[in-house]
Amino acid sequence: MPFDQALRFASIWLASTSFIGLALGADLPEWLAALTGTALIVALLLNRGGKAVERLTTVTSISNTGWNLLAIIGFLGFWVDMLWVSGELLPAGIHFLMILMIIKLFNLKLRRDYLHLYAISLVTILASGSLTTDLWYLHIFLLYLLAGVWTLLLFQLTKDPEETGNLTMLVIRRPRLSASASHVTPQLFWLANGLALVTFGLTLVIFFTIPRVSTGFYQKSLGGNIRTSGFSETVNLGEIGPIKRDPSVVMRVELPDSSRHEVGRIYLRGVAFDQYDGKAWTNRLNDRRAVSEDATGMFVLRGSRSPAPPRLGETVRQNILLEPLDTPVLFAAPFIERVSGKFPSVQSDLTGSVYLPFPSSSRIEYSVLSRSNPVLPADRGSEPSLYPESFTRHFLQIPARSERIAVLAEEITHAQHTTYDKANAIQSFLTHNFQYSLDAPLTEQDQPLEEFLFTRKTGYCEHYATAMVMMLRTIGIPARLVTGFLATEWNEYGNYYVVRQQDAHAWVEVHLPHSGWITMDPTPPSIESVGSGFSAWHALGRMMDTIRLQWSRFFVQYSAADQLAVVRELKAGGTSARNKALDSMSALFTPFMAMFGGITEYTSKGTIQSLAELLILSLISLAVLLWLGIKRPWVKGMICQKTAHDEQLIVQLYERMISHLARKGISKPVATPPLEFVRLTRERWRDAGSAVGSITELYCRTRFGQISPTREELSLAEDHFRYLMALDKR
């Protein structure tokens, strides 16, 4: 492909990727997206050439004034859009950007126009980057980067040496190099792609090391929070049912200290409810208080009003990545002891639930240390005891005493003596005698609970749990309803639990005199979750979820703290590498190693200074690479290199000499023939005269006399060239 055409193609490709990025990320109006898409396709077709296209050209040919007028109309439209239609700067700006892109696509005449198109594409890809946090952006960005490297390379290569300072010159001009040279050769192809790869690597380096200043200008909630139910102040019985079919992911839970085999499934406690009015549960103990923070930034829960005997249960550490929900509740395994995360404050209520001050609009990550509450041996033998009034008011409350329930509860538990055994009896009764079904429309009944217990005998978690709490309370055992999630879906690729809306669950907490609150679940464990199948499809789904999580974790949520962690790890790696190297290497390398050690030591300070130094270092290496890639003559040599033919070699050598002289300030005007140029060079740079003269002579003989040079002449010419390169002008 000739350079001109390739440049055009690459430029349109660049614009296309940025447009696709924006179309996926932002809510473009359909007509605008369709218009821009069509414009891109038409531009591509125009680039390809052909008969049908020529017809198109005549259709689309509008005079310059016409295009300018369009741009002005677009600008007016932008104001109208911003003030009345969209009402915001960002969407209006994006729409205007699209219009500008369309106009530029059809006006790629001057080199300036190309630069404008690149600027528009850059702004577009930036806008799309700020509007999305999804994984697909990575692909678009990669494509964009590749296109960017290509365009810049081609832009540089099509640049005429005479053209410096004259950007308005036409791009399409007489090919300067010979016809074979101005084509995209395989070497150039791989060089460009390699450069793109290197650039991407450097981008990553910069991404991980550049200091974060803020969390982003445009950061805002996109697409709204996930609607949940069951975690508000009041929950109607049966409210959880409808969401039990929703597979959207709510959170991901990592258990850093334990493997899946030890855990099996895990309850993620949300809110506890104490008051039941026959139809709805309410949390009266919702008096939230700020949780104090300890020296390490951990929020430590204490002073809960529930009697707290010395806790002996196992601790479970969890790292939780919570999607934006419409509730401020922080979920975790019962019972939370410590919370840490990137939030300014945390509140807790008297039932041990933990809240943020307000629902988060973005994905948040926090880690929790929980301690489970085992049943103490003392409770296994103890009789039911009396509780203080404040306690019974909350946890022994019953709406309207139903004789049937009381009789049933008595019936089930009369054989048992201890509180724990009674609770267990009720749990197993419910588990074994009722059928789990999501198709239980317990609607519009006065007493849904009685309906469940005596008539229908099918229901789901909420019914089971409510029934158990009510039965326990009628026989004087304090109990409360807890809502949250039951995590069962294990992702073996990322080693975490995937928690979905459909894992929403309700269960029971029973208070035992010595052990305190313990978790009980009357719902039959046969809840077959959708994602637990082992088919390849589900495995693939889980793998994708892992990748998405890593993307979110390491790119979207990447923060200064992570940066420090990266630097620390680099340092650790550097130190260990140094130790290993020192062990194995001889003292020959000691000075070098000392320097290396100095660098790692310096980095280990972890200060902004070292980050800045890393950044500068990578920037310098990027600049060097670009300089090597674009300015060095061997790239040009590589492009021309078709065969290792001697004639071509000498022509290449001559061209290299010309560009070398141009860098030394002696540029060859287009209309200057070779011998005249030699005289010119001699006048201006006496020392170079003989070398230039002999190379030129050989070049003329080969190029115009068609006399192949001998090997000796070639090597002599190369020697001359080397001498020329080494020669310092004046």
Binding site: S178, E655, P674, L675, R701, F704
Partner: protein, 313 residues
């Protein structure tokens, strides 16, 4: 002796007479080798005749000089038929044109009729007289001179006839130093008389044949044509260069390459020759406000055109 050395020897030979004008000598040799004719346009007394004379002497060729005046007749150039009483028949007495090098001095002083008889001979290399055709000597070269300073009583050559000359040259005054050398020379003898011939006429013909074998690479032909086309499109010119002009430039370039010891042309050759070979073949547009004949101006326009055309790399 290889051609390069021969040519260098001739150049040195002539340079012993014509001081300080190596370019003019080189170009006159180019004209000779390209089978072309030379028009020297300069004021009297700068060595036009001496140049022609020296060239002829170095070549071991016959040399004739015709002083053009207003009353010169074609027969004074071509020759006349005279009745031979012994043979009882008209006999053709060849005129001065039957020589290898002919100097046509002040060619613009004679009438168009006489001029055209000479020019005809130049392009056809033969003379038709009384239904008979007489081939001219080979090699054949006309060196015409004209005086640009005088206009009264002259008949300027029309463009169509100027076209027959391969190149138009100026000799110009020598530098003071060179002029001193000229004055220091013993005056008793014409300087050209003491030159020894280095080449026979036959050798010249062989050299002329070698010119045909000089290689002109395709890109250089394109370059040459680009120059020719630019003269046709230039706003400054009312008449561009003809195909004969292009042909002349090509031949001259080949000859120059040979003179310079090459077997191939370079863009440099074309660029250097263009003002000399092309400037008398164009007509400067009247809008330029100068006389049509302005030699310097035409040369300048060609030079500017050439300076704007990219050289093949």
């Amino acid at each position: 002796m290889n051609p390069t050395e021969i040519i260098r020897a001739i150049q040195e030979n002539i340079a012993r007479v014509i001081k300080g004008k190596p370019q003019v000598i080189e170009m006159s040799l180019v004209a000779l080798l390209a089978r072309g004719h030379l028009l020297l346009e300069d004021v009297p007394g700068v060595g036009k005749t001496t140049l022609a004379h020296s060239l002829a002497r170095s070549l071991d060729c016959t040399f004739k000089r015709i002083q053009f005046t207003s009353d010169l007749l074609p027969s004074d150039i071509v020759g006349v038929s005279i009745f031979n009483r012994q043979k009882q028949a008209f006999e053709f007495m060849p005129g001065p044109i039957f020589a290898n090098v002919v100097l046509a001095d002040e060619i613009n002083r004679t009438t168009p009729k006489t001029q055209s008889s000479l020019l005809e001979a130049m392009s056809e290399a033969q003379i038709s007289f009384d239904n008979k055709t007489y081939p001219l000597n080979q090699p054949f070269m006309v060196i015409a001179t004209q005086n640009p300073a005088e206009y009264h009583g002259t008949f300027p050559l029309p463009e169509s006839q100027l076209d027959r000359f391969l190149m138009r040259l100026r000799i110009g005054y020598p530098t003071q130093e060179e002029e001193k050398k000229v004055l220091d020379r013993p005056q008793s003898l014409h300087p050209a008389e003491e030159l020894q011939p280095l080449l026979t006429a036959h050798d010249v013909l062989l050299l002329q044949e070698q010119v045909d074998h000089v290689l002109m690479e395709e890109s250089i032909t394109d370059y040459l044509l680009a120059i020719v086309h630019s003269t046709r499109q230039s706003d400054l010119l009312s008449l561009g260069v003809s195909t004969r002009g292009a042909l002349a430039l090509s031949r001259a370039a080949k000859a120059l390459s040979l003179v310079r010891g090459r077997t191939y042309c370079l863009p440099d050759d074309i660029k250097e020759l263009a003002p000399i070979v092309l400037s008398h073949r164009i007509m400067v547009a009247r809008a330029q406000g100068m006389s049509q004949r302005s030699f310097e101006q035409a040369e300048q326009i060609i030079q500017d055109l050439v300076d704007s055309i990219p050289v093949p790399v």
